[in-house]
Symmetry: C2
């Protein structure tokens, strides 16, 4: 079966459309010389753990293991609760919403497919309390994910839930209700798992925000009943595309080039992602972390202080036509906008005819047709206001194209970091606040930080 | 019963904390002279429909009528579906999430309180299809809200749902399942309501994004079982505060002054709202519309082209510590951050002790205490990186303080618009795309727009 690549339409990003706020082919061309060198480096660098995300689409062994585990969990449980934060949470959440929708957990049951809940991205006690009121714990398995095994939010939630489960099922049985993914060999979570005998699901060595196609994203997806091998097949198609050295054909590099020019040459430092698909809201939040953490750095690779950063914004069409489009059309020229359009929605709902009414113009139009018209009208009006905007076009919203989409953005982030000459894989700017937290919570070794923060 | 005002802590916004990126009392002082004139104008201008939001907190008659209608709906139905977009949707959604939480609709029932769903903010057919699968239509009432009565998304959804209901309940009975709020006397929705005899719930004359304390927000809130008179009592307390002519005591004006200085004097054009409360996520989206539409304008009041605009960002703590704080700490100096802290969460969940573990430092800490520690650590680390940040402190998350919070931001938007010399109540930048949409959908009178958009 031939399945095409997603498309990227950059017509309204071009200078011929939006004047000096847009981009000329000649300046895009100039960046092309770097692509071959980047690709060569990626190929040579294949043992670099940071680049291990590039190997995930080919990891058929993991798919087998994850599928096997998921089959077992689907037989035993009704609910899976993901307890993670950031990269351990956003990818799985994006997949579940994109493919199961917003109302899946409201169905009386999902057959053999588990309902998936997300709770570990906060220590707010209220959602935890509310979730516990509606879950039958005996039918629930908890998937605890923390790369370091030290992350405060999932760790606190895990210890709390562990006690609840022991109380509910007894000590011996409670162990079956937890699956843990963490850095093997070190960290609190690993120590506890080893000592108590919780099941450790294989760990992905790379960075959290590049981990959606590892067990972090795939185990919840498989439990929810999705074809994880198709997610990877989509990612492989995009990976193949990203090996091309032609800058006009390599989609992630081309996309990265425009983001680079916008930031460096036009002071358009805000990058909006605006899907016209209700169930891609969480995808936009996944993107927001990828851009926010990867592409903002105080120092560049030459250790020069740059305080560089593209600010990502997660938007939604048509909802934000009634919230943000006023700003995007009339505000400062500091944004570029990327729409996501979905070619084929399964539902064919139409607006019915209402007799003698000024609404007659709506009659007979399919909902999905109106959605596309709204996107088109918004894009053209932005273009007329000299606001550069492009569109990613997905043939359908399914595992395969979602796999393409994830990998497209991951590779685009990698290329964009290389063009900007920064390290996309670290996040030094969050270390200080972690130390303060440890200090205030009384963790050993952070007495100095405690003293410091208490001075303010 | 004495209930205090929310607090605004601006310590880390000050120049003494964040150097040249922060603000000196002397420059704040200079703006104070304008406050008295603004307040005088508001008082004199009380028949201005734009300012009618200032009268909502005192409208006890509406509360009575809305409560009466809600009592009737609560007896007859189990579900209320809000069909609106933008200002007709975001406020009601913010209230419902803040007070009922994320999992209320997953309970088998809410007793006499209706479950509230939101669907009209898109024409994506998928959520509509999914929602219809789980709702018992006979137990469901639809609340259709559109100021103009012409808004495409709720109009399309309404016509579609109307047909479904007729099919399900018969023509005569289906009318009981719809309540409509729209501009009386004109618009398609009004015409249909008159002709068919749907119940028209009183309309609020002011702008959508300032309408949360009108029937738009209050009817869903009352149906959900919340004390709407307390929402207004909170708003009145803030309204009283906003009448003060002392710039250091008038909280919305003081907040607006800092946002103004950030934008005009420091090129900090991005305003982040980051609640440390999981159920204030939708509140941040309500804020995002208020700021995005009110405070971005191509022309100022003197008709000078300014392309001015504060870009609002809806963030969330601690979730975004693992997504956006890297950017906020190390990226460009283009942001100011406002936290919302909640003083008292009802739940007292604690982290249990786990023997012999490096997690011992967490043992015994309450979740809500950890949440506050996380906010504090984040605020201090931002301050040390010279990133101005302030905090709104709510004593509790209930109707009363939510009412204060809504009114605080509404008045702050009004003052900020006055400082920036723009009209906060219009949104000319969305008109062109509406015309294109009408053109593409074949509405009469928009043939020229159709021709124009088809040229691109």
């Amino acid at each position: 079966m031939f399945r095409p690549l997603l498309k990227y339409d950059y017509d309204f990003m071009a200078a011929r459309r939006v004047g000096r706020f847009g981009f000329k082919d000649s300046e895009i061309s100039k960046l092309g010389g770097k692509l071959k060198a980047f690709n060569k480096k990626h190929k040579a660098d294949k043992n670099n753990p940071d680049l291990s995300f590039c190997r995930l689409p080919y990891d058929r062994d993991s798919v087998k293991q994850i599928s096997k585990l998921a089959r077992r969990l689907r037989r035993k449980f009704k609910n899976l609760v993901v307890v993670g934060i950031g990269g351990s949470d956003l990818g799985a959440k994006a997949i579940y919403q994109a493919l199961a929708g917003d109302f899946a957990n409201l169905k009386s049951n999902r057959g053999k497919n588990l309902k998936v809940y997300f709770i570990g991205d906060t220590v707010d006690p209220e959602p935890m309390a509310d979730l516990l009121k509606i879950l039958n714990l005996k039918e629930t398995v908890f998937y605890i994910v923390s790369k370091s095994g030290e992350t405060i939010e999932p760790l606190a939630s895990f210890l709390f839930l562990r006690k609840k489960l022991i109380w509910k099922t007894g000590y011996k049985k409670h162990k079956e209700h937890f699956i843990i993914t963490t850095n093997p060999g070190k960290g609190v979570l690993f120590d506890i798992a080893e000592k108590e005998g919780y099941l450790l699901a294989e760990h992905y060595a790379g960075g959290g925000r590049f981990s959606v196609l590892s067990v972090n994203g795939l185990l919840p997806a498989a439990c929810a009943g999705f074809e994880i091998s198709d997610l990877l097949a989509g990612a492989r198609a995009m990976a193949k595309n990203a090996k091309r050295n032609n800058q006009w054909k390599n989609l992630p590099f081309f996309f990265a080039s425009l983001q680079y020019l916008a930031y460096k040459k036009r002071k358009q430092s805000i990058s909006v992602l605006m899907p016209y698909a209700y169930y891609l809201r969480n995808f936009a939040f996944w993107f927001r972390q990828l851009w926010g953490e990867s592409l903002a750095k105080e120092f560049n690779l030459k250790n020069k202080k740059v305080n560089l950063g593209l600010t990502p914004i997660a938007a939604l069409g048509p909802t934000d036509q009634h919230s943000q489009i006023q700003l995007y059309n009339e505000g400062p020229h500091d944004k570029i906008i990327t729409f996501i359009k979905v070619g084929g929605f399964p539902n064919n709902f139409k607006v019915p005819k209402y007799k003698d009414s000024a609404a007659i113009y709506l009659a007979g139009h399919k909902f999905k047709e109106i959605l596309n018209i709204e996107q088109r009208a918004t894009a053209v009006s932005l273009m007329k206001n000299k606001r550069p905007n492009g569109a990613i076009i997905l043939p359908a919203l399914n595992e395969y194209y979602l796999g393409q989409l994830f990998y497209f953005f991951e590779m685009a982030a990698l290329y964009l970091g290389e063009l900007l000459e920064i390290n996309v894989f670290n996040q030094p700017g969050v270390e200080q606040s972690k130390k303060y937290m440890y200090g205030l919570l009384g963790k050993e070794g952070y007495e100095k930080d405690k003293k410091e923060i208490n001075n303010f």
